[in-house]
Symmetry: C2
Subunit: 214 residues, 2 copies
DNA sequence: TAGATTGTTAATCGATTAACAATC
DNA sequence: TAGATTGTTAATCGATTAACAATC
């Protein structure tokens, strides 16, 4: 069956939302409850879940613990993923320090850089290796996901090395459209600022005049 | 006229793509050229642009310099935006150090934190203030955009202060759905990792078995 | 003029939502 | 049983794309 791409993103939102219900000690939730918290329609919640099975009980709703488990299995976060960050600059360092990743089962096991100064040091307790060792260490450390946090110009090259090394997927922070045959998820921070700028101008048409004068 | 949301994201992509053409010294490009670079359909490029005007010449294509200017104006990046980062932790620090922001006309003019240890110091040359001064400094420094880089629990509260201070829009790095009346752009890094995990499992069904054994 | 490419229409495709029978 | 809520169908809505007349 064809699953809409937006459904996948929402699945991860449901997972978080249900986890919170679990923490609150709630046993059953309805699609209406979930929808309210996430600002969606109940029918969308039910439809999204229905792509993967029948998890609810009519008249009752969904068993929170059971649905959390099912969602973890569907998304693939019922296992720990080994992650390597390529590029130990500001962004790479911030990600290595970010506790949210491990909390969500993404374990940063290595950093890579081409700066010999950084190689051999540790960042947030994680060793920094030379990019030249990526292929060897991917096997040794069982690296499954690579984060690309290198400058634009190096991004495609690094992606190719990662793919050759046998990495299963890439989270790409560079503004480049990567050409690979493995799954890539793009995080484009500047794009978000630009979209916001557009939306601000749309919401504040009077600003346009001021800009012309600037 | 109703403009599709995906069109806005693509507008920022066109802007970058056209800038590159300009750097390469290209004078005219066709919708086919742009589409090829961005992996889109030419008719989509033309349709997207047509929401905002008639920028091309039949038989010739688009004048690169002219279209770059038009796109900058439409997106709103023909002016410098003053940005404040709230939360001077790892993420806030990484963003303050990120040169891509200024390059795209987003100027970080202040950091805010509630840790008195950090207040008064500078990060990447940018002063750190106490969150309590946000309202006052928003006026003084003409802060237009706030970046929310604080822990989940503080996010909604900070958003409300920012809105009260008169900020025009928010880039939200917390995993919380903010309730505001000003535009918000969400950047959810963990969500990207989870989406990638799902796509990796879909591309590698044999991994599912291994996980069950884990 | 002939070839190329636009801007726009209409068709298609994909995602969301309302409605409701099934059933707890 | 009566009330609640699911899972699913069909209708609606929104976005993409092919096609083509207009025109450089």
């Amino acid at each position: 069956m064809k699953i809409p791409k937006p459904t996948i993103k929402r699945l991860a939102l449901y997972y978080r939302c249900l986890n919170r219900y679990r923490e609150e000690g709630v046993n059953f939730v309805s699609s209406k409850d979930i929808a309210e918290r996430l600002n969606l329609k109940p029918s969308q919640v039910r439809k999204d879940l229905s792509y993967f099975g029948e998890f609810g009980k009519r008249g009752l709703g969904y068993n929170v613990v059971k649905l959390v488990d099912e969602l973890a299995r569907i998304i693939g976060v019922n296992k720990v993923w080994n992650v390597a960050i390529i590029g130990a600059g500001n962004l790479g360092t911030a990600l290595a320090n970010y506790p949210g990743l491990l909390k969500h089962k993404f374990k940063v096991v290595a950093l890579f850089d081409n700066d010999r100064e950084k190689v051999g040091k540790k960042i947030a307790g994680i060793p920094v290796f030379h990019v030249g060792d990526l292929i060897r260490l991917t096997q040794e450390l069982n690296i499954e996901i690579c984060v690309i946090a290198v400058p634009e110009l190096a991004a495609q090259r690094v992606a190719e090395i990662a793919e050759e090394a046998g990495v299963k997927g890439i989270v790409n922070f560079s503004p480049v459209k990567l050409r690979t045959s493995i799954p890539v998820e793009d995080v484009d921070i500047t794009l978000s600022f630009e979209t916001l700028a557009y939306n601000i101008l749309k919401a504040n048409p009077e600003m346009l005049k001021l800009i012309e004068e600037q």
